[in-house]
Amino acid sequence: MILPYILSLIFILGLLLITLVPVYATLARRRPSTTKDNVPAGDIGPAATNKWLNVIRFIFGAICIVAVGFHGYWSLFAAGPVSSNDKYVSLMNGRDRRNLRLDEGGLRGWVYDRSNNPDSALARYRFNGSTIDRVYPLGPAAAHLTSNPTGRGGIEQAFNAILTQPVSAYNELVSTLPVGKDIQTSIVADLQRDVAQQFQGKKAGAAVVVDVTTGEVLAMTSWPTFDPSVKLDNETKDKQLYEHDHFPEISPTVNRALEFYYRPGSTFKTFIAAVAVAEGKTNLVFECKHEGFTPPGSGRAINDYEGEVHGHIGFEDAFKVSCNQYFAQLGLALGKSTIAQHAQALGLSIDPDNAAVRGDPNIWSVDPAIQKDFNSVFAPPQSQMNLTSKVTPYDIALQSFGQGYDSITVLEMAILAAAVARPDGNIPYLKFTTGGETKIRGTFLPAPAAAHLRQMMRLVVTNGTAAGAFNGCPVNVAGKTGTADRDVRVFDPKTRQPVKRQDEKGREYTVTTGQVDGWFIGFAPYENPKIAFAVVVEAGGQGAKSAAPIAKEIVIRASQLGLFANAPATQPANKPQTKNGKKAPGGTVR
């Protein structure tokens, strides 16, 4: 690179010097023309034309200067060292065919998992006998993390600046397209692969596992998924992009852990309980009746799952059995402004109209150099409640047990679990790479309150809604189940379009159906929390039966992988069969 470049410079400067000689000679030549310029008046002979030739000479000189000016604009001002035109630069980024050359020819850095071992890399090169190709060894299991059908997205886009940053000055000097730097992510490849496998056969779902102490993301799965190494033709690509934007419910490319709003269901009671604990309102007793609880000013009653009746019930028992009516009343007792204050401390928006829809940048701790790219990929839309002045007590009651206006991402639920699991009750900034200090976003709970809540979550697993679901786990788990109702559009499996019907008046409407999502959020080990997680299984029914088994698998796998190395194992470890050598879930997208 450097040698031909220096030779080119010599060539340019040499030619420039050489060119200056004749240019100077022609411009500096002051010898009068051989034909006399002092033409007698009225003469129209050849000598008289000279005046006009001089004008043309002048015009041509001016045109040359203008041409240099135009060239200078494109080379210096349009996207250059002097200034740059944003619109032109974005066009250049999108349309310049040279980008493809740079992509194809340069070696991007490798993306390692936590172990920094090439054998478990997320993105690396492979030699297939004749060509060197970029591959994603985890395939569909980590598709949303690595790359999307356009060849961008995921880590490839988020860390582009680092992956293409020359690995050494020497390499930059000698190579036309330099080698990029490697990155070590915090993902545990084996865990990632195994968690993804748990969703096989499910309709859809997502799971996030974070390290409680450091805020590092250990696994992030979204289902359905796709194979990132399959090159798609343009038509399929366009179709997928269209689906991504318009029908996210069925799109395999949507990262459900990040860019998809869910109703968190009963898992959200963890938040309301946290508010109550923090405010010291843990001694309230409410009644859970057969006819349900009717919030003041509304005609509709709130009932429990499958019409259960808990009678007079206290705070801890209500959390254990997940009593909707209790939490509806607790929410109203706590009051809108108190909930709002804590919601904002957690990072939720309390006004859907003012939520950071395009990505909440306050979740991650990232290198400022790549912040923009990173946020465009990994910053989720801001989770939200609606606690504006317009909402009725009924709405508040619904939101107090994870229904109604609650629109939360799976990632946000994992953050909630992590904040509760931390002994200090702080909210850590999440990280995608290992190392570096852990930054704290803010305090969510005072330490004793967090301990109280952890205890309640442990009771859910031992005696509550998730009782029995974690039998056989090597460590003690604490958590909260959730079962959330929501209406979803019905899609025709063949055409992959929403089903539409006409009502009696001939107006077209989109058919919807009720769907029950199963949730589980929690942490492990209970005594000394190391990991926190949030799992959702769409249309999975009860959280204890759909999401909790996946959470159990996460804990077992994490234990095998030594993530609880320092945690005391209080239960005799009932070691399940090893899952080593398991392949990534099948290559099908749907």
Binding site: P4, G14, I18, T19
Partner: protein
Amino acid sequence: MKIKPSIHFMIMLALVAMSLVGFAAIVIAGQLRGYTPNLMMGARDVLLFVPLLAVFVWLLRTQRCKADFTLFTAMMILFTVGTVAQYRLFSDPEYGARHINEKVDTREAKMQVIKMRNIKTAYDDTKLKALFGTTDRDHLPQPKTSVLNRTFTLGQILFSEFTYMPLLGMLGLAVAYLFMKRDDVLLLIQRSSLVIGVATLVPFTFAVLFLARAGKIFGTTPWEPVKILFLFSFAGVLADNYRNLSRTRWGLPSGRFLLPLIAIAMLPALPFFALSDFGQMLVFYGVYALLFFVTVRRTPLMVYGSLMSLVFMPVFYFGIGLPNRIKLRFYLWWNLWQPPDPGVAWWQPFANEIQKAYHGQVISNLDAWFDQSSQLAQALFGISRGHIFGSGLGLGFPEVVPVSDSDFIYAAIGEELGLLGGIIVIGALLALVMTGIRTARDSRDMFTKLLAAGITGFLGLQAIVNIGGVIRLLPMTGITLPFVSHGGSSLVTSFVMVGILLAISHRNESERLREKQGSEPAREQFGKHSLVGAVNSI
């Protein structure tokens, strides 16, 4: 200031040395990219400077030419830049590939070689082991690069148009000089200017109407030299008539003299219209108008001319009655980044054409537009990447711009040699045109004056139209950059034009010297427009 011929010769030697540096840069850069530029081809290109220098020495020593050699030097600067740029493009196997599949294969092979080189030099043992299962750096498996090795026989190189066309051009320069410095030849040409015009038109029109396919015959444009012949006829008639034309009423010359001139001027219009070569027409009429105004120089005519162009401006702007291709060019010029509405009538045929090329796949209007405008857009992106010093020879990607060897050579220069490369080209051009106009000024008689001005106009206007088309100063036209673009017949024509300019410059200087010595000019009458009288007697 006049530069001594010896200085000129040294400059030329320096140019040859610089071109060697440029070739070295290209060869090394090519090897970094995975291909070895053909050295024989490079040697041929360097050796082409030998006959060029020989022509110079021949002019100086044998012919005792007293012309201003700035013409020759400026030409040689352009030729050097051109040769290096051409070698850069055609030594790249991807650019040299004929078919699209071949292009894709070579591109991928190039990229694989770069990757392999990087792996070998920058990857540590852990990664090598993970990739190949070995850490033996010296015996890594090699990617298949056979597609990058294009071999040529000596014969192929010697008989390619890159060899014989420049040689033909240099020969043409010498021959043109030999003939055009002679009084009798000039006299003959002026006398038979009408005959020359008509005699050129007939075979030219025949060739255009019956032989040309897509504006070319056998892949070349053999009518490039007709520019000179038409110029002879126009300059001849104008030199003959300019006194009559200057007698104007209401600012207009008498129709008796104006109409024949217009008839002569219209001669090239028909065939060029048939070729739909509007860039060439633009240059032609630019030069004709220039000559007319220089000789007749009546202020009202200027006013009429300006009014006429004001009338035509909206015609061009709104594209009334223009072919779709021209409308497209104008639209590209003004709104490069903004696709036209899908329903716009002139745009539909192009959009449909692109749609067809994608075999049924639906292309959005925006994508179709960027497909259509890619040549200009990619050229500008390249220039923007070039900044001041360029990306370096062989280190940019001019191969993404279609036909960057001829119409868009300036984009390749802007990308790899940067703004300074552009300044070199424009500077050399400026020197050439300034000296050309100086030659016209020094001419004693109207015919050679018009000839010199016309040739200078052709070279200068053609270059500006070409460069302006690339940098969006002017609409895009399919016209070559003299001495820089790869162009067979246009290169020969440009050489011949410089030969004529040198001859006229030599005549002027000889006359001046004779006058200075006090002796009467050898042909006093000729100096006093005797050519005019000669033509009048036809």
